[in-house]
Symmetry: C2
């Protein structure tokens, strides 16, 4: 037998509307009544039904986090927990719950738009850019439904946050140049991948600023995994002294790990003869020998920012869209530390 607002009203000798006002701490209720009603609520161990509240208030106080669980994006897996904690850290205190949803849940029949948005199960949505489409964005805008995209999404009006991958490319390249490296190769990733394009842009830009330019011979694109790192280094070692790189910029930890391993096997001293820097600080960077200079992304911060932006859109759904690029952090470690040594390679 569960107790309702009605029961409290009876027990406290007031109308149920009065109880409701007490629950919501309305200023038009006397302190005395509040005390009494609260006492009764506590006494009877009463908790309002969110099912009813939700219907009456026409708001679920629930947010959606939408991802595509069918593809295991290398990206989401390790970072998901942090992103989620980041989101909750700002939405939790505001009493919002967070519902996880995969686009393809419940069969292709039930699009998430129906399942979550139109059915009013959620008040707002955070979605990865990997699953966002212009259609969806337009539809959401049309419905004036609050949403935030995680990851750049410039192709349709939307509010999004991302880390600045281009700037990241600049930072790493800049660092390598400062350390005296001059022939820097970018390894891992392929033309057409959003992440690669941005990062490579930053790299190329910074090189040109320094009066250098990407060496065509260094062009070894491919998947961003360990074996690609190995292959890249093997290939680059074949080059003649003049064009052989003295530093590597890696797409991620796996590529860097493979590169480091192959370099070691080839007897090339790192960082002495070959500097290695990489995007991401997880999972290997702090652990390798030598530890890798890397570009750290605060995924907790990313989630928190997405949460902030979503709350703002919920408050003011008609405000204009905005987007934000967060700055990554360069973590300098031994793999690029050539300070002191003039470091001529060849």
């Amino acid at each position: 037998m569960k107790i309702t607002i009605q029961d409290i009203a009876h027990a406290a000798q007031v109308a149920k509307s009065t109880v409701s006002k007490v629950i919501n701490d309305s200023p038009r209720i006397s302190e005395e009544t509040k005390q009494r009603v609260r006492a009764v609520m506590k006494e009877m161990n009463y908790t309002p039904s969110s099912l009813a509240t939700t219907l009456a208030k026409q708001s679920s106080f629930n947010l959606g986090l939408l991802i595509d669980m069918s593809k295991e994006t290398e990206y989401m897996n390790p970072f998901f927990y942090n992103i989620m904690v980041g989101i909750k850290s700002v939405t939790g205190p505001l009493k919002y719950e967070l519902t996880l949803s995969s686009i393809h849940d419940g069969g292709p029949e039930t699009h998430f738009l129906k399942r979550l948005v139109l059915s009013r199960r959620i008040d707002g949505l955070i979605a990865n850019n990997a699953i966002m489409t212009d259609d969806i964005a337009h539809k959401l805008n049309e419905l004036r439904f609050p949403f935030v995209v995680m990851g750049e999404y410039p192709s349709a009006p939307s509010t999004w946050v991302d880390y600045d991958n281009r700037e990241g490319g600049c930072m790493l390249t800049e660092h390598l140049l400062t350390q005296g490296y001059r022939k820097i190769a970018f390894i891992g990733g392929e033309r057409g991948e959003r992440l690669f394009e941005k990062r490579f842009q930053g790299y190329a830009h910074t090189l040109r600023q320094a009066g250098l330019q990407p060496n065509e011979a260094h062009n070894v694109s491919g998947p961003s995994d360990e074996s690609q790192g190995c292959r890249s280094v093997s290939a680059l070692l074949e080059l003649d002294c003049a064009s052989r790189p003295d530093a590597l910029l890696c797409m991620n930890n796996y590529v860097a790990f493979g590169a480091l391993k192959t370099a070691r096997e080839a007897g090339i001293p790192v960082p002495g003869q070959l500097g290695i820097a990489t995007f991401d600080d997880y999972p290997f960077s702090p652990h390798t020998s030598p530890p890798l200079t890397s570009l750290h992304i605060d995924t907790l911060q990313l989630g928190a920012t997405a949460g902030d932006m979503l709350m703002e859109r919920i408050r003011t759904p008609d405000s204009s869209h905005r987007s934000l690029l967060l700055s990554p952090e360069l973590i300098v470690r031994e793999s690029t530390n050539r300070s002191g040594s003039p470091g001529r390679t060849g």
Copy 2:
């Protein structure tokens, strides 16, 4: 202007109760009427409000996944995504949503029991054993609220799943013995840690079965991180030939990584002079040189099983509690491969 069941009723010239029956595909409605009503619904782009359905049905069709976000358990972080996908893979098709919750959300004032359970926001709960207490378990049982614990939880009546850590300890030890290793040290972890106790039990048991026993001199407990792996190996290398171990069983990948690194620096060949096996296959095991023999835990399967068990409890809340130990998988790699060589160490 959002359209309700009433609007559909009008447009289709039927009572709203009829529309409701069509929505729920009641058999007492003529095929003809169904067609017509469905057409209208599609036409008007109608989606039932889950807020209303939920109140009428007295069920939220929502499950809770409860964790403690304030402590970053090494455990949850990398595995969270898989666990979650596992849960969704079984609950999603059954039309349940999954709500993530931290125990401490919304201030200490609002206990999750109130926030989620008593308020009826969720129909069932999956919780990590790290946050479960006997109090909570009793309370949930008292409320006849369906819940499943992830990780062993024998101290109070509950339904739980876990991987069999004791068996894991047996499997790894057994494997090392089979490879001809005889002086096996267990490194990483500390007395009192649930995980350590179980794993160590399996290890010790298998040794004794083989007529051996844990060498007291091998006792180097401590945190389960890389530096502990390094320290342990350094310490063990100090021992005289007789008691120096010929194989290591590591609490996790970080310990193993540290051990491997130190062994290499000391010029000890792995697996020739020292075999190394470890719990967990993430994040290093497949990538090290040599790759590590490890005990893999299918976290997706863990989530899926928890989901299954929860659905069962929701269907039959009064069935008796049960618990399940899943078997881990041994992945043999080079770090323990001494086949062919008699492998005497000293």
